[in-house]
Symmetry: C2
Subunit: 236 residues, 2 copies
């Protein structure tokens, strides 16, 4: 949909860049997965040059990790990085809410309400798209601000949060409750800036909490093995 490299007049590099980003964000490429230039180039029918360039750009975005002479890997955020992403997200979405509150246009409200309806629909039927829709609600809000930079950052950070939750959260925790979304829309349409801010804050906090980010299911080998090592020393 958003990736028609040639038809969109995009350069091949741009096309690959967009396609890879989508693949990563949709988790078709799992965090930590290797991204060999050859394979990517071949998959898209281009040379390594293009793949390489796209990977470099994704690295700037933080979606890909570039290890010198080793190759590229899909970034796999640690629990701590996800927590950091949520901190940034709170700040950004706060700006979104502040920008929108009191200056919502009817067209924007219409779109938001339509989205809410879709969310409810998907949630009731346990549709696969429910999680995606929940994320897209936030993207829609960002879009409505008309601030392109803000929109880009929110998109990125929401993606990262999703990626992080997918990696570390317990199952079925990545979705927003759509009632909270509905409340937000009402506060925004009423021009209740403070209320909307508080709702957004609570919403994001709940989202992070649902994810059990305080737990640490982190497979840090060294930390796990440290006690064993010290026991070995003591026994000896």
């Amino acid at each position: 949909m958003s990736l028609s490299p040639s038809s969109a007049g995009l350069s091949r590099t741009g096309g690959l860049h967009a396609a890879l980003r989508l693949a990563i964000l949709e988790q078709q490429l799992a965090p930590g997965a290797r991204l060999p230039e050859d394979a990517i180039g071949e998959a898209f029918g281009t040379s390594r040059t293009i793949a390489r360039e796209a990977l470099g750009r994704l690295a700037v975005e933080g979606l890909v990790e570039l290890r010198p002479n080793r190759g590229a890997f899909v970034a796999s955020p640690s629990v701590d990085e996800v927590r950091q992403a949520f901190a940034v997200r709170r700040g950004l979405e706060r700006v979104v809410v502040q920008t929108l509150a009191g200056q919502m246009k009817p067209a924007g409200l219409t779109r938001l309400r339509a989205h809410l309806a879709a969310e409810r629909e998907a949630e009731e039927h346990h549709a696969a798209g429910a999680i995606r829709l929940a994320g897209e609600f936030h993207l829609l809000l960002a879009e409505l601000t008309g601030n392109a930079l803000l929109q880009r950052y929110v998109t990125e950070v929401v993606s990262r949060c999703s990626l992080g939750l997918a990696t570390h959260a317990r199952p079925h925790s990545a979705d927003c409750g759509c009632r909270e979304h509905a409340g937000l829309v009402e506060a925004l349409s009423a021009g209740d800036t403070a209320g909307a801010e508080a709702l957004m804050e609570a919403h994001l906090a709940a989202l992070a909490r649902r994810a059990r980010l305080d737990e640490a299911p982190e497979p840090d080998i060294r930390a796990v093995l440290a006690p064993y090592a010290s026991r070995l020393k003591g026994t000896r």
Copy 2:
């Protein structure tokens, strides 16, 4: 100083990327300036490939505009885009302040105070680096949060703001007053979250105001010519 591509173990692409960014932020490369791959590669003793790659990455950061089949140009953001960047920046730096307030480590304070001293020094002597140092104060704050994502975003958005001010502000307005920086550091070290937040808010507002962003020295041809056109109509 911060650009020794080979010695730093950086790839050549990385070195060029960093060097070009610095050159743009120090306004050695003016907004709108052309950036031909050939010339850049030659200047750094590398091939076009590397230059091209670095330019692509800078484009992702928003420092460079890539026009298909036309080449690369130093980005020259519109007044509106600069305003948007400031809006985002306020949100991000707020998170920085919230994160830091009350948990400043002595090492961090030392670095901040050293930086303040350097700023004062540069300001007194009207050194060329004064503007850069003023920006780097904010980067240092972001770095001290330990939040890599936040640091990246602040870096980008500060760059954009600097670039925007370079394009649209009246001369000598792009520098922060380093007294405001000093006040911030004191509030942070005292753990005065609310005070630090307020200071940062005021500081950024002052920065934007100094830039006369409300004025519109925009060379919008149509707007300028509109009265002439209507007069022509009237006369006719």
